[in-house]
């Protein structure tokens, strides 16, 4: 397989790898995610009941209270934060939260992450370089 590299925009620097977890829904870190465990507790959310811990979390953009930035920091301190974030287009709450929590974040990829990535794919997010690299496909993804 030829490694797929997708260029995007740097929001938060740093570099991390992890398995992809896709969310079609926006995320409000205040109220939607348990800061101790990283489990999504918002009922009816696309990720309800799932853990974002250690994942490369893909979601369209943030929503809700600005306190969400601090909750991301708390997740990080509790070891429950995502390894990296990919957004369609980041807004300030998530951008600030990712920077203070040192979670690499890239947005505005040249191709939609929802078309290119599947849950369980192993990817590297290089926030400093502003790109995402697909390192391995999940079982069940026939493109591997």
């Amino acid at each position: 397989m030829v490694p797929i590299k997708l260029k995007g925009r740097t929001i938060a620097r740093g570099c991390a790898e992890g398995e992809v977890l896709l969310s079609k829904d926006p995320i409000s870190f205040l109220g939607s995610v348990d800061p101790k465990t990283g489990i999504v507790v918002e009922e009816k959310h696309a990720l309800a009941g799932k853990s974002i811990r250690g994942k490369v979390l893909v979601f369209p953009h943030g929503k809700g209270s600005t306190v969400g930035s601090y909750v991301m920091y708390q997740l990080k301190k509790n070891g429950a934060a995502p390894a990296a974030i990919i957004n369609l287009e980041t807004e300030p709450i998530v951008a600030v939260g990712a920077i203070i929590s040192e979670i690499p974040l890239v947005d505005m990829l040249e191709k939609s992450p929802y078309e290119v990535l599947k849950d369980g794919d192993l990817v590297r997010v290089d926030g400093s370089g502003g790109y995402v690299e697909v390192l391995g496909r999940s079982a069940g993804n026939t493109e591997n």
Partner: protein, 407 residues
Amino acid sequence: MYLTKEEEQTLNGEAGETLRQAIEILVALGDIYGADRLIPIKSAQIAGVSYKTIGDAGLEWISDLEGRVKVPAILNPAGMDLEDWKRLRISPEFAEKQKAIVRAYEKLGIRCECTCTPYTLEGFSVGYGDHLAWSESSAVSYANSVIGARTNREGGPSALSAALLGKTANYGFHLDENRVPAVSIKVECPLEGSDYGALGYAAGKVVGSRVPLFYLRDTPGKDELKALGAAMAASGAVALYHVDGVTPEAKKVTFEVPEETIVIERSQIDEVYESRGGAGKEPELITIGCPHCSAAELRRVAELLEGKAVSKETWIFTSREIAKRYPEYVGTIEKSGAKVVCDTCMVVSPATNSYSCVMVNSGKAFAYVPGMCGAEAVYGSMETCIEEATCTEKAAGKKEKKAGGSH
């Protein structure tokens, strides 16, 4: 976004980790909003102070930072009166956390006066055209609209980053083109006092985040403008408004008349006052001072309370500096049994959560009290609020407090 050589070095960590993170935040926001560069600011006002809103997460982040602010910086209201927190029955656990937050900010060189009206303080003067990084929505509205300074509504971390760097990203309300009014609001009826807060409450809902240009019959004073802007920033997301012939930018700049015109009728303002019928409850707590009382407002409260005794819990919020400057007003108010409370307000203090119905003379508090304090809100003028506070007949009525009225 263009960065100077020194800014590039800071971004690469050559000035330490705190400043690296600070400039990374400003650059990320600048990129999101299309800023061309960073610009110097005159002062910062930092949100994210009340333990009720930022919790342990915020406390941890602020405590981990190092360094000193480069411009005068001040804090938003906290969750309690920092000196006399016991009086409003704040729990010792909350008080400890709240003090830890303020100490963490103080360590960074920030003035630990917690107020939403920093423009009234000594040494914190703001002038026309000054660039700022302020957070609190009513202070932002006042600085932009009543003073003609320029600030976006900064989140806590971005305002703190701006203070540490002495700069902010050049976008939004820092630029002329974003300060042009997008909608006209015509009000034909006469207005006075708390009518402006009620007008702001009604206008914010229809204006959203646009810049309105008001055409009013009367000429509002500074406290009336403060109330108007605070309410619009709460019921809507208005960070800048103009009043034809009154606010400084509307006097200096010839704006084109916006295409869209909204007329606000007296009946819409009356609706805010009539909320009382809808609440179906008697106010248990009377609060004045959102935003924090100016000297003139504190004097008016003192005049209204002189020689009277309150029969209901009554809190008057102001900044510590104003309270210290006018001990005679504070003395008169406290003699009536009402409490003058500093550093906090009815919206961000957990003390309010013990009451089920709160009377306010503020369009902003009227918008926030139900959601943030779990209490119904009733709107009235300052005079009506004081009448309610001192009325003896109603005091005999049945009072119900949820959660036993204490923490």
